[in-house]
Subunit: 353 residues, 2 copies
């Protein structure tokens, strides 16, 4: 089955869910333009998720994608947390922050029965997962309302693992991609062996029978065409949408994306506890982007939050996660519909509907 | 000017120079098939370079490429060397090697006036450089015999640096590529910010006026087509040639390339002192692939050499650099001409001659 039939869209093009920089408005614009808009649920409290889904349904009658993280929440490790805050002590002093006054707690919630209850009322036609898949009972609930299921793979092994569990399509996430790496086999910090899109995509296409959606570094119609040349059934584009009118990307983040420094990104676990790609800033430079002593995902979020707040209030992105993929050359300050139609020019005729 | 006019070939396709796993025979086969064969000079002593060039000239009247490394040889740091051998002590004990008896010394020689003397006699029509460019006087000698000059860039900044110094074409080396990273701006271990081909290639194409040759992860006609879709003027393919009849790849290395483990590569500086991509093996797993305490390039070669020799004699690749890119799916046990013609099917008509 072609991806457009599977998703119910005109175009085999997915706007990547990007928690923290978009809500329903971006998804509405993309879905109405004929592609698949995505709503990221990872940073939404239950009530906010309900509101966003209602607004999304109000804004479009077209198919859309609801994205969940499905990590297993870690135990809070007080000793590890204390050691980490000791590492950050010079920054706390610099900003007049009392480390003892920083609340701990998770920054991102995984898919759960409670969230499934909320989602089910809106029957999202597509649900995508990052960090593997939820437990079978939860996955069955998603299938029960008729949703097609997508999930991210960063390796051939992960793609096979997902296909064996019945996903409808695999998103092959090359190392170029912005935001969180979706890997779930192996250790959280195991990114050294992960492959670029040019290498990952054809190997995943050869390894699984289900449609493969290319992600990572695709930011122009030429990039879209190249992904189809490599065997993709569809493409997922994130970074290029970050400057769109409908994105909620902060002014500070937008400024960083427009600057020459946006070409210099790295995977970092400093902001959340798992590797995610963002523009290199002071915190990443000074501590090194990947640290084994950072708290487990998503607990690392708490320790950085007050530093980020103080710095941002002063107009500085020194402590902000400036998520971006390696190819920011496609970022456009236009409406998301216009960008979608521009990207769609790279889609071969036989993949459209 | 199109790349075929610049290189004087029929096809805008370069067989990547791969020191240690090929000599003139592979280059001869590729050049005779209409692409540009390459002879890597980095591991050849002056007399061997002369012999190889003579054999290459005997084998083909078509254009070929002579590749040099152009690093600056480091000072030998006895204390650093001693600390490193201490790290390796358990392995020396395991193999009955006396660390004091290991000769030190460089493993790879940079371009020099002596090597230029030898090369000039053969007037190689194309010369490519890795790790930047040689000093201006040496570069002028290469230009003096009429050679076209290519050089590797791993970032937009490096591409601009090379273009400003007059290279005829830039090789955009994506993170997927096997063997040594060609980066020369920033620190030797600065690989965290380097980009995949999907992101690097279009950004380099947009940043320079000279032709851009795509390298990294290209291993099939589809990969070749995708690179042209992204704006490449030509492609360079290395890994796919490693199993060809004319390559000198060892039986052990060939076995590793054929196995499922070939999908798991990482950048490592353990074998030479600079990051190079190879199949993950015991040494890389146990020490971690990138170590700040390894001797400077190319001095790290010496400490591993006896371990490698003992292990290989016992049929083990535990201590061998098993160079490979992230996409080994294109490795074919065929003649290099056949592989060249297969890859060439991905080249759009308007780029051929």
């Amino acid at each position: 089955m072609r991806l457009v039939e599977l998703l119910g869209t005109k175009l085999p093009l997915i706007q990547a869910p990007m928690a923290g920089v978009q809500a329903h408005a971006l998804a509405v614009a993309v879905s109405n333009a004929g592609a698949l808009g995505s709503l990221p649920a990872a940073m939404l409290a239950p009530a906010a998720l309900r509101d966003e889904l209602a607004a999304l349904r109000d804004g479009t009658s077209r198919p859309f994608n609801l994205n969940f993280f499905c990590h297993r929440p870690p135990e809070i490790d007080a000793a590890r947390e204390a050691r980490w805050r000791e590492q950050l002590a010079p920054y706390y002093r610099e900003h007049g922050i009392d480390p003892a006054a920083i609340p701990s707690g998770p920054g991102r919630a995984p898919f759960s029965a409670e969230l499934a209850d909320i989602a089910e009322a809106f029957r999202p036609p597509v649900v995508s997962f990052h960090f593997g898949l939820p437990v079978p009972e939860l996955l069955a609930r998603v299938r029960g309302w008729g949703a097609k299921v997508l999930a991210s793979a960063t390796s051939v092994d992960e793609a096979r693992w997902l296909e064996a569990r019945g996903v409808d399509a695999v998103i092959a996430q090359g190392i170029e991609a912005g935001g969180h790496r979706g890997h779930f086999l192996g250790g959280d910090l195991d990114v050294a062996t992960q492959a670029g899109t040019f290498a990952l995509l054809p190997q995943v296409v050869a390894a699984v029978r289900c449609p493969v959606i290319a992600a990572g570094g695709i930011a122009s119609r030429e990039g879209v065409a190249a992904a189809f040349a490599l065997g993709a059934a569809g493409v997922q584009v994130g970074t290029a949408y970050l400057l769109c009118d409908e994105a909620t990307t902060s002014a500070l983040h937008r400024g960083a994306l427009r600057g020459g420094g946006a070409r210099t990104t790295a995977l970092t676990n400093l902001f959340t506890g798992r590797p995610a790609r963002g523009i290199v800033n002071r915190l990443m430079r000074e501590l090194g982007p990947l640290r084994a002593d950072a708290p487990a995902f998503p607990l690392a979020t708490a320790a950085i939050a007050p530093l980020r707040a103080r710095a941002e209030a002063a107009g500085s992105g020194d402590f902000s996660p400036l998520w971006a993929g390696q190819n920011t050359s496609g970022c456009r300050e236009v409406g998301a519909a216009a960008l979608t139609l521009e990207l769609a020019q790279g889609i071969p005729e036989e993949f459209r509907r």
